[in-house]
């Protein structure tokens, strides 16, 4: 079990954004996490990464209880993430952004930079390494976040709507990219509203609604679950698949 | 016409003490004007006042070069160096705040140039073994003795001085004066029952006045700069409390700004001053007229001390007959000015080998009808003591 979250609750005042959720991810898995807007997916991510302290429950990663660890300690253990609202280092070049990630496992700036170049190439940002990060559009930033996370050579990668805003063709490329990342032995948890992504990538899917898990199973199983259709997919779900 | 003699004057012309610095500046300008252009009346008493510059240097005029110490020791020292090396002044005078005098005079010492302080009172200034440093002003112990004798005299005359409160601001000036007064009073058996230290430039002094009001001492001695002096005077009136003798140690309470602002509410305030007023025709009285015409206010403790320091320096340069620093130094050492030539209320000027003026002294004054008049020592008094303190 690489990631194991037990009975995680996150409350903002009286409102429970995540309500007693237990999710575990095996090493080598691709887990899809879906659910309507405001279901608590991002909040749950933040609890896993330590960006938000849990109200109750526990999180363990790679066998260690990390519930009380700050985000940077979890990152050092190999937990990487992207943000739904991109948080790139705007004053830096694309290359430097990725270098920050690479410095986690590389001692010198020179080595880190080489690693960063490598990763940028792989995610398809090889042609803009010297551009300032702020000149990228939202999708570009999200891609840069993936590169940055990969450069830190994580065991697990949490992707929060990393493909939002891509055209169908680009989505297909991105799916390929995630497959390749997965192929390198990185465990992936992915939040996405584009069902095509979930269906073609995820081995298992967990569905959240109002902070609670309402379904889990293979993509096929959950997309035909009437509860999921009712709460999330809506009548015309076919269009997205 | 010989080249003018340059004298460097370093004062706080900006920053929190700028008010004092600017008044002193005007007083010294009055002094230079008297020496350069003469004043018939003064010439009867002071030889240098005949006009036509310094006779000892063939009638060289005095040129004042002012510099602003900005209230910082660094600026004071930088300006001292500039005056010495660029302006090639013959001697320096300044710098009001003791800390700045300390750093500025160190430069003069290294360059071998006389430095005279007319108002810095910190004791350690003359303890440094400097050879080029002179001080004309009385220091804290002189003030303390004056108060002590004055109070003992009042006690003998039937005033209550059973409980004395000391209120002082917490910078160098207030702390040092307060501790010297406390020492002296201790020796003289005057009981200090309450000591209140506060930070200068307060935004509010009500708590302090309330503390006073509660203990209700007979005598309060304030050691405060202008801004706080004003606040105390205002607040005491607001809270309607007054001691039977209110003594203000100079500084803030002597500031013309304080008088302008609060004069009518502190009638009967006792103060000490180097300025003793004096009868018409006396040196202080004449200088006061000249100064009033220029500055619009009366001479006071700070301005008169600056003026006196300048006059001493001018006299020494004149006697040196040269701008050679060593000769001026020697002339300063030999200074011996009598009391009647004094603009300030000193007993004269004569330096000991540390450079301190051994004839420096203070008079005690009282605010009567909006003006400070000398009430102590008897020999100099121009009016009688009126007690208890009237206030507003």
């Amino acid at each position: 079990m690489l990631i194991d979250a037990r009975n995680v609750t996150k409350a903002f005042g009286a409102f429970r954004a995540v309500d007693d959720a237990s999710v575990s991810v095996e090493e080598g898995d691709i887990l899809g996490l879906i659910g309507p807007n405001g279901a608590g997916k991002s909040t749950f991510f933040n609890c896993l990464t330590g960006d938000l302290p849990v109200t109750s429950g526990s999180v363990s990663f790679a066998g260690a209880d990390v519930t009380r660890l700050p985000p940077e300690a979890r990152a050092k253990l190999g937990l990487a993430r992207t943000f739904q609202v991109p948080l790139t280092f705007e004053s830096m070049s694309v290359l430097d952004n990725a270098t920050i990630g690479a410095l986690l496992r590389h001692h010198t700036a020179r080595e880190a930079r080489a690693k960063a170049r490598d990763v940028l190439q792989r995610v398809g940002l090889g042609h803009v390494t010297d551009a300032p990060a702020r000149s990228l559009g939202t999708p570009g930033r999200k891609r840069l976040e993936i590169a940055r996370a990969l450069a830190s050579e994580p065991k697990a990668l949490l992707l929060d709507e990393a493909m939002a805003g891509l055209t169908p063709t680009e989505v297909r490329d991105a799916i390929e990219l995630v497959r390749r990342i997965h192929g390198d032995g990185i465990t992936i948890v992915i939040v996405e509203h584009i069902m095509e992504v979930i269906v073609s990538l995820a081995q298992r899917v967990v569905v959240f609604h109002q902070g609670r898990e309402i379904a889990r199973g293979t993509p096929r199983e959950v997309t035909s679950d009437p509860k999921v259709i009712e709460a999330y997919l809506g009548r015309r779900k076919v269009r997205h698949a | 016409q010989p080249a003018p003699v340059k004298i460097g004057v370093i004062y706080p012309l900006s920053g929190n003490s700028a008010s004092a610095g600017n008044y002193s500046k005007m007083a010294i300008e009055v002094g230079a004007d008297v020496i350069n252009n003469g004043n018939a009346e003064l010439a009867k008493i002071i030889p240098l006042a005949k006009g036509g510059g310094l006779p000892g240097l063939g009638g060289a005029k005095i040129q004042l070069i002012f510099a602003d110490n900005q209230g910082t020791p660094a600026a004071g020292q930088n300006q001292a160096l500039r005056l010495i090396s660029e302006e090639k002044v013959a001697a320096l005078i300044g710098a009001y705040q003791s800390g700045i005098t300390l750093t500025a005079s160190a430069i003069a010492e290294r360059h071998g140039l006389p430095f005279l302080t007319a108002e810095s009172v910190a004791a350690n200034l003359t303890e440094r073994g400097f050879k080029w440093f002179f001080r004309t002003t009385p220091v804290a112990i002189d003030f303390a003795r004056a108060y002590s004798t004055f109070l003992k005299e009042q006690k003998a005359a039937g005033q209550k001085v059973g409980a004395i409160a000391l209120v002082h601001e917490n910078t160098e000036y207030g702390n040092s004066v307060a501790s010297v007064i406390a020492d002296q009073f201790g020796k003289d058996g005057l009981p200090i029952t309450q000591k209140i230290a506060y930070s200068a430039n307060s935004s509010d002094v009500q708590p302090q006045v309330l503390q006073l009001k509660e203990k209700n001492p007979d005598v309060v001695i304030f050691i405060s700069y202008t801004s706080d002096a004003i606040l105390y005077a205002k607040t005491m009136k607001e809270l309607n409390w007054k001691p039977s003798i209110m003594i203000a140690d100079n500084a803030g309470f002597n500031d013309p700004a304080f008088l302008k602002a609060m004069g009518s509410t502190v009638e009967g305030l006792v103060n000490r001053s180097a300025y003793s007023g004096g009868k018409p025709g006396s040196v202080p009285a004449i200088f006061n007229e000249l100064y009033k015409a220029k500055a619009g206010v009366e001479l006071d403790d700070v301005s008169v001390r600056g003026l006196q320091g300048f006059l001493v320096l001018a006299d020494a340069i004149n006697r040196a007959g040269s701008t050679d620093p060593a000769k001026i130094q020697a002339a300063l050492r030999a200074t011996n000015l009598p009391a009647e030539q004094m603009a300030a209320g000193y007993d004269g000027v004569k330096f000991d080998d540390k450079g301190q003026n051994v004839l420096a002294s203070s008079v005690v004054t009282q605010l009567q009808g909006g003006k400070y008049v000398t009430i102590f020592p008897k020999a100099r008094a121009t009016a009688n003591v009126i007690l208890p303190y009237k206030g507003w």
Binding site: - | S14, I196, S199, D204, T226, A261
Partner: protein, 287 residues
């Protein structure tokens, strides 16, 4: 409780309301445009001079001085905004410190040059003396200042949180471009913010002048108090400034009375650091 202690607390509260008043302009400028105005104390100082001038030149009391000072400092705010602040906002946060510090020196010493270094005070007959209530003495000028302080800070608070114009100003402060998409003219709102802050500051100055000395450097003393009050209460929160001002006023008064005046600042600063330790955004600031 002894009557003196009550007196101490009352005077602390009145002082605190005044702190709140002259801090409200600072917090407003911060809240509206993320600018810390290092010249704030000097704005207060100019407001004080306005009152002094109106008294010495025209013999007018606070009822004349307050509106005039408000208008003068509001104008100064607008001018500073258009000539300086608008431009430094393009730069990093440090540019604000640089620019407003320069402005502070410029204003402080322009006043010095024009008014001289002298301390000025208003005759305390202007706001009729003092009165006693239940053994506690109230001074007219302080009650007036404290009362106006309360009223004005509350009014500012309501304007910011309850009105459309307040909401627009806040919108501009957060994202001027997005505000333009709402049809809001950012510069107009920001100039308005500077005018409002200036007016509040001018009023503060005119009222303080009734019981405080006026000098070109007085702003320095006041500015540090304002900075502490504003961060104590939470940047951008006028209500926070009010609460913080009252707390600081009372704490200062009490510690000066009970521990000793030298330590009152020590107590206030320690309290301030403690507050930030437990509430890094200040008492009422937004996280």
């Amino acid at each position: 409780m002894s009557i003196t202690l009550v007196q101490v607390i009352v005077s602390g509260l009145l002082l605190g309301a005044v702190y709140a008043l002259f801090s409200s302009g600072l917090t407003l400028i911060w809240g509206m445009m993320n600018v810390v105005n290092f010249a704030h104390g000097d704005f207060v100082m100019l407001g004080m001079y306005a009152a002094v001038m109106i008294w010495t030149a025209l013999g007018g009391g606070p009822f004349a001085a307050v509106p005039v000072a408000a208008m003068l400092i509001a104008t100064l705010g607008i001018v500073s905004y258009f000539l300086l602040v608008r431009h430094i906002m393009r730069g990093p946060m440090l540019a604000q410190i640089l620019g407003t510090f320069g402005l502070a020196l410029f204003l402080r010493y322009s006043a010095f040059w024009y008014f001289g270094a002298d301390f000025k005070t208003l005759p305390d007959t202007i706001v009729g003396g003092s009165f006693v209530l239940g053994g506690v003495r109230f001074e007219g000028s302080r009650v007036l200042a404290g009362g106006m302080g309360l009223a004005i800070t509350l009014a500012l608070h309501l304007i910011l949180t309850r009105t459309a114009i307040g909401s627009r100003m806040l919108a501009v402060s957060e994202d001027a471009t997005a505000a333009q998409l709402m049809g809001i003219r950012p510069q107009r709102m920001q100039a308005l913010a500077w005018a409002m802050a200036g007016a509040a500051t001018g009023i503060a100055g005119a009222l303080i002048a009734n019981f405080f000395y006026t000098s070109p450097t007085v702003g320095e003393t006041l500015a540090i108090i304002a900075f502490v009050t504003v961060s104590f209460g939470g940047f951008g929160s006028v209500l926070g400034a009010l609460v913080a001002g009252l707390i600081i006023g009372v704490v200062e008064s009490l510690s000066a009375y009970l521990i000793g005046p030298v330590y009152k600042d020590v107590v206030v600063y320690i309290l301030f650091v403690l507050v930030l330790w437990f509430r890094p955004q200040g008492l009422m600031g937004k996280a």
